[in-house]
Symmetry: C2
Subunit: 572 residues, 2 copies
C-alpha cells in the first residue's frame, strides 16, 4: 500500500476533546473518525488491525471447538421479553418500532439469540456440550461514551455462548475459554492483562471474570495482592479490616453545629476517622425507598456489593423532608427514619464510635452498637482500598486501574430456564442446559493496546496486529536511484509476503518520520541518498529495540528475518 | 469438522412457509434459522460460505485499489438530513431516538457516511480518485420480506464508494468495478448473472447497472435481446411498438353498459385491444393529485418510467367522486378531470381508437387523437414485454426473471453537493467530487446461487463457496477398520489443507447421504465395509459429473487433485 493513496491524514496537534493518549493518537494518526457520541468510522489502518485481532480470536475460538455463527443485530422485543430483559434493562438498550408496529431492539448482547438458535436443536444430552460464537456489531446506548474507542456506543464484539449438561462441564469449558483468552491477549500483543473476579451485573450467573488491561486511564479498579496473586474487581473484592478497639465509653450527646461530614467531625474534635460511624443513604431504583448504610468513617460503600446484598438496584439518595432522616446527622441510636438499615462489618469490633444523633447539630460520642442499638447483622459492603488487607493471605493489597477488554461468565440456567430451552437427560428427565458466555470488545482491545504501547509521537503496535509489518520511507523519491531501490524493496517484500506500507511522497524527511511514528509500524526501512551511496538501507524497530543496516541486495531477506523475529515473540 | 459436533439439524419435510427452493433447502439443511420477518441467524455452514464470498469480494475490491473501512450501522439523523434523504426515504428506514433525544437511523446504505469520512480529507484534486468500501450489516424495513435470504430486512452488504474529479474518471472506474463484479460472480460460482441497465431509484444519479442472476423466482423482469445483446431492467427498458393504422373513421359515441375494462370492450365489440386506448390512473404520493395515463389497450404502464418522467413518486389511484374522473369510462375527448394527462407513445400512429367517453356506460369509437383532442406530447411510459421489439436492433426481445445480486451506480454530485464536500481543482476553483457507488448483497448472492444450483435433494455448491470442500461419509463407523481408514483420510486431507467435513455418526447410509446432499459439498468420499474390502474409497462429485474410486493409500492425493480440478473452473 502506498501512503499517497491511503485515505486519511495525519497531523501534529492534539485535538481538544482528546484527554487520553489512544484517543489522541488514533485521531491524529488517521485511524478513526468521529461520527457522533460513541460512534466512529474506521479508516483502513484501523480496519486492517481489527481484522487481524478478529482472526486471532477466530483461531482461538475454533481451537476450543467454537462454531462461528451470525445473529441479527436487530431483534424482536418478544425474544427479550421471554428472558425478562426487555424490562430489566434500561435506556442502554436502543428500541424502535418497525413498519408493522412490532417492537424491535438493537442487540447489546446475544444470549437470547443464542438460546433461540439452539433450543429447537439441542434436545438430547447427546447434543451437548457446544459453543457458538459470532463477531458482530453491537449497540449500547452508553451514557458515558468517551475516550475514542475505549467506551463507545457502537462496537464490534466477539461474543460466545456455551451450553452444558452439568456445572462441572461448564467449569471445565470455562477454564478452556479462560486459557484461550490468555492466548488471545498474548498473541494480540497486550502486555498487562490480568484476569480478575468480577460482578456478573445484568448478565446473571455467579462466577465471572474480567480480563483487565492495567492502565491508569482505566475506569475500573482492581484489587491485587502481589503476595498471593489474589485479583478482584473492587466492585466485588472483599474488604477486610482489622481495626478494633476495646475501651467502652459512656454515650454522650454533643452539640456539633454545622459539622456534617466525617472530615469536619474528625478535624473539629481531633478524632480518628476510624472511630466514627458514617451514614450513607441510597434509594431503591424501583420504589425510591431509602436504604441507610452505616460504615466506618474512613471507608466507602461499594454500591455493587450493596446491590448484590439487597437484591435490587440502588442509587445515591435525594433526601426529602418528613421521613425521619436528618441529613448530616444520621446515626443508629434512636434512628426513626423510614428506611432499610445496613451495618457494614467494619464497625463490628469498634467499641466506641462517634455518630449522628438524628437531630440537627448533634452527634453521639461513645456509641457502642451492641449496648446502644442491640444485635445487628454485619454485612461486607465496603469498598476495598489501596493498602487494604488481602482477603486470602492477609498481606497488603494494591488497587490499580484497568480497562475491561474481555469477560467470561458462568450464566447457569438464567436464559435456558426463562426461555424454556430443555433437553432430555440420560435419566429421561427434562432439564435446562447450563450456559456460559464469553465476550471480547475488538475496538476497545485495539485502543487499550495503543494506550499501553505508545510514545509521545505515536502508537507502537505489536507486529501481530499492526496495520502493516514494515514501512518503507523513501526519503528522496525525486532521486531516480533512491526511488528505484525503494521500488525494488517494496516489490521484494511483497513477493516475500511481508505486508508493507510504502511512503514515496515528495515531502520532508521530518514530516515523513512524524507520519511513520503515527502509523506505528514495527519495522521501518529508510532508503535515502546518503544510505544508498554507502550501499545500505537503514532498518529500525518502532519500539527502538533495534537499529541497524543491511546491504541493499540483502535488505528484503534481512527485513523478513526481523519480521519473523518479532512475530515469534507473540507465539503461544 | 465432525458432523456430530455441528450445531444444526437436517430434515426431509419442506416447511410450509417455504415457497422457493433456496429457502426450503437452506432451512432443511441447517443453514439459516428464522428469527422474525426478514431476519435470520446463520448457522456455521452458512457463516463459512458468506465468509468465503466476502473474501472473494475483498480480493477483487482490493485489486481495483479499494480501501476497506468500517462505517457505523447506527447514524445520527442529522447526517441524513444533510443529504435530504432523512425525509425523502420513507418507512424502509428504521429510526429511533437515543437516550439524549437525538434522532438516529439504521444505515440501509452509506453514501452519507462515506462523504462524512472523506470530506475533511480529500481537499485537493491530488487526493483523487479513491474508493472506500466496507462489508457491514444493513437494515431496511422491507415490507415484502420473503423467501429466506432472497429478500430480507437485515443483511450483510459490501458497499463501495468511489470519488472522482471528472465524469471520464468516474466512467473509467465504473468500468473497472463492472469488470470486478463479473469476476466476483464468476469466482463465487454464479452461472447466470447478467448486467442490465437499471433505474437509479432512491440512490440518485443517471447511469446504473444491476447484476441479475436469472432465475424464475426473481422479482425483477429483464428485457433481453439475444440478437444484439441488449439487456435492461423492464423498469427502464424502452418499449418500442410498430403497430399503426391509417383508416380514419368518424367519432361516434356508443352505449356500452357495464363495459369497464379493455377486455370486456374488445370481447363485446370484437375489437383488437391494440385499437383501444386505455386510461390508467395514479396519484402523486405527496399531493394526492391525479395523473391519467392513456396507453394502448394491450400494454401496461411502467410505473418507474412514469415516475422518472413526472419527477415525483406515484401510486395507483383511489378514485373518489366529484373530480370529473368517471372510473371505467375515462377518455381523452372531453376529459374534464382535475388531473395531469400523459399520452404513451404507443398511441401515436393509431388513426382510429376506441376510448372512454367520460360518461357512465359510454365509449367513443373512431377517435383520432390529433383531430379530436389536438396536438399532444407522446411519452414512453409503457412496459416492455416478452416478444416485444428490441430498441437497439429491432429484433424480438424476451423478458426473463432475475434476482438483483449487485448494482453499480454513477451517482454524480448528488451527495457531495448536498453535503458540501468540495476540493480545489487544478485551476484553483472549488468543485464537488463526482461519486460512484457499488453494492453486493452477500446473503442474497448465496441464496440465489442455491436457487440456481440445486436438485431435489439439496444445494449443489460451487467449490469456491461451499462450506467445506470434501465430505467423508464413514458408513460403518462401528467397524474398526472402516473407522480407522476414515480417520486417517480425515487427517491426511486436513494435513493437505483440504477443508473437510467428516460424518462418522452411527446412522443408516440413507440418512447419511440425505444429510450429505443437504450439505451440498462438491466432493464426497464414501468409506464403507464393501469398498474397504476391495481396497478402495469411492469418490464422487455432488453435481454427478464424476464418480470413481481411489486406492485407499492414494485417496487423499486423488481427492486433492479433484479439488484442484474443481477450483480451477472458477479462476478468472
Amino acid at each position: 500500500m502506498f501512503v499517497r493513496n491511503l485515505l486519511g491524514y495525519r497531523f501534529k496537534e492534539t485535538p481538544k476533546d482528546c484527554s487520553i493518549a489512544s484517543h489522541a493518537l488514533m485521531t491524529k494518526g488517521g485511524y478513526i473518525k468521529f461520527m457522533c457520541a460513541g460512534s466512529y468510522s474506521l479508516f483502513t489502518p484501523a480496519k486492517r488491525m481489527t481484522a487481524k485481532i478478529e482472526k486471532i480470536i477466530r483461531e482461538e475460538m475454533d481451537a476450543i471447538g467454537g462454531q462461528e455463527v451470525l445473529f441479527p443485530v436487530v431483534m424482536p422485543a418478544s425474544l427479550w421479553e421471554e428472558s425478562g430483559r426487555y424490562t430489566s434493562i434500561g435506556s442502554e438498550m436502543a428500541r424502535f418500532t418497525d413498519r408493522n408496529n412490532t417492537k424491535m431492539v438493537l442487540g447489546m448482547t446475544h444470549e437470547e439469540a443464542a438460546v433461540h438458535l439452539a433450543r429447537d436443536i439441542a434436545k438430547s444430552y447427546n447434543d451437548f456440550p457446544f459453543m457458538i460464537y459470532q463477531i458482530q456489531t453491537k449497540f449500547r446506548d452508553e451514557p458515558r461514551a468517551r475516550g475514542g474507542l475505549i467506551r463507545v456506543r457502537e462496537f464490534t464484539m466477539k461474543d460466545a455462548y456455551s451450553f452444558h449438561t452439568s456445572q462441572e462441564d461448564l467449569e471445565k469449558y470455562y477454564q478452556l475459554c479462560y486459557d484461550a483468552y490468555v492466548r488471545i491477549f498474548k498473541r494480540a500483543g497486550a502486555k498487562n492483562v490480568v484476569a480478575v473476579k468480577s460482578d456478573s451485573g445484568m448478565m446473571g450467573g455467579k462466577v465471572s471474570h474480567e480480563f483487565m488491561l492495567l492502565t491508569d486511564i482505566g475506569e475500573d479498579s482492581i484489587a491485587i495482592c502481589d503476595e498471593c496473586g489474589y485479583k478482584a474487581n473492587v466492585e466485588v473484592a472483599e474488604c477486610v479490616t482489622e481495626y478494633k478497639t476495646d475501651e467502652v465509653k459512656q454515650l454522650e450527646k454533643v452539640y456539633t453545629p454545622n459539622v456534617k461530614t466525617i472530615e469536619e467531625l474528625a478535624d473539629s474534635f481531633g478524632l480518628n476517622a476510624k472511630d466514627t460511624c458514617k451514614a450513607v443513604v441510597y434509594q431503591e431504583n424501583e420504589t425510591d425507598d431509602y436504604v441507610v448504610v452505616f460504615i466506618r468513617g474512613d471507608l466507602e460503600v461499594n454500591e455493587t456489593k450493596l446491590r448484590n446484598y439487597l437484591g435490587v438496584e440502588v442509587h445515591p439518595a435525594t433526601i426529602v423532608e418528613g421521613n425521619g432522616i436528618v441529613a448530616g446527622f444520621i446515626g443508629g441510636v434512636g434512628f426513626n427514619g423510614k428506611a432499610k438499615v445496613v451495618y457494614d462489618r467494619s464497625l463490628k469490633n469498634i467499641s466506641s464510635l462517634v455518630c449522628g444523633a438524628n437531630e440537627k447539630d448533634y452527634h453521639y460520642f461513645g456509641m457502642n452498637i451492641e449496648r446502644d442499638i442491640g444485635k445487628v447483622e454485619y454485612v461486607d459492603v465496603a469498598k476495598a482500598y489501596d493498602g487494604g488487607i488481602c482477603p486470602v493471605c492477609g498481606k497488603p493489597i494494591s488497587v490499580k486501574r484497568g480497562v475491561e477488554v474481555g469477560n467470561i461468565f458462568q450464566l447457569g440456567v438464567k436464559y435456558t430456564k426463562s426461555m424454556n430451552m430443555t433437553y432430555v437427560d440420560k435419566d429421561g428427565t427434562r432439564k435446562n442446559p447450563i450456559m456460559g458466555c464469553y465476550g471480547i470488545g475488538i475496538g476497545r482491545l485495539l485502543a487499550t493496546i495503543c494506550e499501553e504501547q505508545h510514545d509521545d509521537y505515536g502508537p507502537i503496535w505489536p507486529i501481530t496486529i499492526a496495520p502493516w509489518q514494515v514501512e518503507i520511507c523513501c526519503l528522496q523519491a525525486e532521486d531516480g536511484e533512491v526511488k528505484s531501490i525503494s521500488d525494488n524493496l517494496y516489490k521484494d517484500l511483497n513477493d516475500k509476503g511481508i505486508e508493507t506500507l510504502y511512503d514515496d511522497r515528495d515531502i520532508r524527511a521530518g514530516a515523513m518520520f512524524a507520519d511513520a511514528d503515527l502509523f506505528g509500524i514495527p519495522v521501518r526501512a529508510v532508503v535515502s541518498h546518503k544510505n544508498v551511496d554507502r550501499g545500505v538501507i537503514e532498518i529500525s524497530f518502532r519500539d527502538k529495540t533495534f537499529k541497524g543496516e543491511a546491504n541493499i541486495s540483502e535488505a528484503a531477506s534481512f527485513i523478513k528475518d526481523k519480521v519473523e523475529e518479532l512475530l515469534s515473540q507473540y507465539r503461544v
